[in-house]
Symmetry: C2
Subunit: 529 residues, 2 copies
């Protein structure tokens, strides 16, 4: 009689114990900052007693799989060499910093590089999915879930092959074509601006901007469909039956989105889209002694932290000099993460570092501004610690990221290839001396910290949820089972319009017939008369 | 030097301390089960040291504002008497149980009652907003937020008058017209079935069902617009300037929706829509001694819990006898909450109660089934404790609620006015003896318990968030600032089509001109020849 009151408690304890049961997780990471972000989730999963296996290919340019970790690496061979891959990515970055090319030349170069990257990605797909030994060994491991970054191609196909539920870590991008077409995310173009390489639209658009946004959606959708032709062929080849990327990508159980409403313009979402932006952020740790001394030597002026991200190793000499000259003209001390040749114009207030503890520096009370390329990780560390930004975007989503910060009043943006010394100096002075930038960033910081659940906890919760429940079917919209014309009810509209047309036709014909009948009678009458 | 590492901690502590700072909350409740649900939030807010004032009118049929509580009541006078209001609601319920009326008669009766309810609601609006003394005293109280149920009319207008941020507790209903038109919630009719009084559509619809759904959207939107004419007039009269319900309702900061994905079919949502279904549920407490003895006397057969909700006091004699006869034919003991006359067919296994501890009974391990009218609260208590349902819907969203449970395999539905003794007996036997119902309900129960945050905590978090931040502007979509044709980009489409038409026209005209020119030359040549 007494035990029954304990039943809900037992049920909750069971759920609780399921949470703490260790799961077996297969991770397919992205590269560079994407891996840095996912690594934080991996570490947390390991800390929560889960067994994690990271699957990576032999040509990974940024993951040091020879290092001993508290998780396991499985490395598979691909036909590309590591040096080739590194060269490819470096080429990609350099193309963004080339000042001498014309618009058309840049576009052609970009297209060439993208084609090369596409071949590289295909070689990864082949290396992974056509390797029967690898597949068999993965199958034997009996994983509970596959966590992946879409930068690692064919991850979804691997999940399909192994019959695993899927969690994806992603940053909404390129007019959300991926999320819209494969994930069924509704994105009304009237107030959801297309994320493009040169973002300049917000959620409040004029008529002309809305026209531009609609055209951007159309163009980026076409571009996406063009790109997918190769991948769809690759997927079809591997599966041996007609398969598209959207077929398998549409099966993703949880979409972990690497942003939040501090950063995004508010817009519709789906029940299986979880926003976990800034999951890597944490309070600052003490700096190394020498660095702390340099920081303290800045006095009341404080410091500026400068990094263009882990992918950029070097800058064109002229650009480096322009930048260094500007840094020399501000009263702050500058810590610049830069592995290239020391610029001639480098002033005594600026120190170069091969590596900086970026999060710890941004969390330092002497930090006045952050010069950033606008990577999502860096932007979130700036939001977390409330540091205003001078943004110099280079490629990918960086311009869009910085534009978000700019429109929210927390950043000034510069163009890498066009900015002069004065521009950078003025931007820094503005961001440091005009209190509105700090205030805006603090407002975003407050929103970031004031969430019901920490982003990392949220990410881990949903990965564990998918393991416990073998997926998250109850969050998957039925739109996945509709064709595009069914989704937009075009068949229903056609049907209803046909009925209206038919009724109108019958009505008109009947009227005409009645009218003729009446006329005939009248004319017959008049004839008789 | 050391203090700086504590800074983020201090920031977090500050946020933490803000959470525990007591706020001043004005609550405008709904009636009956709506108030029961909101009361749970109110109690939790009081427990968290907030000061709560419940504003209620003198004709409230279900809120006993004379009772001493740990929050404050403010009562304002309305022109309707309490007895009139009670009579009105009773009439509304009786109309659903009248077997003798034809379809048209029911519709006419329903229309009459709705008109009377509308007048009653208007009298509340007037009583509240034209009472200058009340407004002045509320203004002096300096509330931080207004929490309301839309059953209390003009709550949003009061918030507007007092300049308060708004949190609404709501259950999506009637093709989501409210949420769609005022809240900008996207609801693609291809897979979001219109919630109607006789729900029979799910998120997976055939072509004909999609046609039906589209027509339902159109009809219910028209009905809503018709209803709103009176309210818009009332709003305009009170504010003294053209004002619609959507104008003020669109300013709601947080929509607390009284369901969750255990109950709902997955569909799009907005950042300021928070799902808090089942926030009132809690583990079962021990039953009163006499009741526990009766329950235990059921042996292995167990018990059936039966309630048609707090609004239904009496049943037509014939119906009561049909039901009682069915209950007498099952081996289980039945606890029936019923205040009407004792039915002649009542069997010894059935006991009538003026009131039952419904949550405690549903959480009892001997409970095999729940006979319910399908109110949201009852359904959530059944989900929470995993008890399958025999549903007898009467009015409002009840049919839709039960239909959700039916399609998820956790309930059998009956029609109140048509069911025979055998139907109810068979339904009970099916639900109790076919294990699939229990399994389905347990699946929903697992989803319900496996959330990142408890629904009540979620509700309170967002109310406190709105207090801390004086609103939740960062979650409000820009769609609120668009007209309907801008929202659907119809102006953009018209513009782009015009351009296409113009280009086509110029192209065709140019071709025709060139063709004519060529022809003329050829004919001139041939003439010469």
């Amino acid at each position: 009689m007494i035990y029954r009151h304990l039943l809900p408690l037992v049920a909750l304890l069971l759920i609780g114990s399921e949470i703490s049961l260790s799961g077996n997780i297969l991770v397919l990471p992205g590269e560079f900052s994407h891996w840095y972000n996912m690594r934080v989730i991996v570490d947390e999963l390991v800390a929560r007693n889960h067994s994690v296996t990271v699957l990576i290919h032999s040509a990974s340019p940024s993951i040091n799989f020879k290092q001993k970790e508290n998780f396991k690496y499985i490395v598979f061979k691909v036909s590309t060499e590591k040096e080739e891959a590194e060269f490819l990515w470096q080429n990609f970055i350099n193309s963004s910093m080339n000042e001498t090319l014309t618009g058309i030349q840049t576009l052609l170069l970009f297209w060439n590089i993208m084609s090369e990257i596409q071949s590289y990605l295909e070689s990864i797909c082949d290396g992974m999915l056509l390797n029967q030994e690898l597949i068999a060994s993965l199958r034997e491991s009996h994983f509970d879930v596959l966590l992946f970054d879409p930068v690692m191609p064919c991850s979804d196909l691997l999940a399909e092959t192994l019959g695993l539920p899927l969690v994806m870590s992603n940053r909404l991008f390129l007019a959300y074509t991926f999320e819209r077409l494969c994930g069924q995310l509704p994105t009304p173009p009237s107030y959801v601006p297309a994320v493009a390489t040169q973002g300049h639209l917000t959620d409040h658009m004029s008529f002309i901007e809305r026209v531009e946004n609609v055209l951007l959606y159309v163009a980026l959708t076409a571009l996406y469909k063009l790109q997918m032709i190769t991948f769809d062929k690759c997927y079809t080849k591997i599966t041996g039956k007609p398969t598209t990327v959207c077929d398998t990508m549409g099966k993703v159980d949880i979409w972990l989105i690497r942003t939040y409403w501090d950063f995004e313009y508010p817009r519709p979402l789906l029940p299986n889209f979880k926003f976990v932006g800034g999951l890597q952020c944490k309070p600052a740790k003490p700096l190394p002694k020498e660095m702390e001394e340099f920081v303290q030597s800045s006095g009341d002026d404080g410091i500026v932290v400068f990094s263009l991200g882990s992918m950029v190793k070097d800058l064109p000499k002229k650009r480096a000099n322009t930048i260094a000259a500007a840094l020399g003209q501000i009263p702050q001390k500058v810590l610049w993460r830069y592995t290239g040749e020391k610029p001639d114009t480098l002033a005594p207030n600026t120190r170069l570092y091969d590596w900086i503890p970026q999060n710890d520096l941004l969390g330092h009370p002497k930090t006045k501004a952050f010069i950033s390329h606008g990577g999502t990780n860096g932007i979130y560390e700036a939001i977390y610690h409330g540091v205003p930004v001078v943004g110099i975007p280079l490629f990918g989503d960086q311009s869009d990221n910085l534009f978000h910060m700019k429109t929210k009043g927390a950043a000034v943006m510069l163009e890498f290839n066009k900015m002069e010394t004065k521009d950078l100096k003025d931007a820094l002075t503005e961001v440091i001396n005009n209190p509105s930038y700090k205030e805006s960033m603090m407002r975003l910081s407050r929103i970031h910290h004031d969430q019901p659940m920490k982003p990392l906890d949220q990410a881990v919760f949903w990965i564990e949820f998918v393991m416990r429940n073998k997926g998250a079917k109850h969050l998957r919209v039925a739109a996945h089972d509709l064709t595009w014309y069914q989704y937009y009810c075009l068949d229903v509209a056609a049907f209803l319009l046909s009925i209206v047309a038919l009724v109108t036709f019958i009505f008109v014909k009947s009227c005409a017939w009645l009218f003729r009948k009446c006329c005939r009678r009248t004319s017959a009458k008049s004839k008789k008369e």
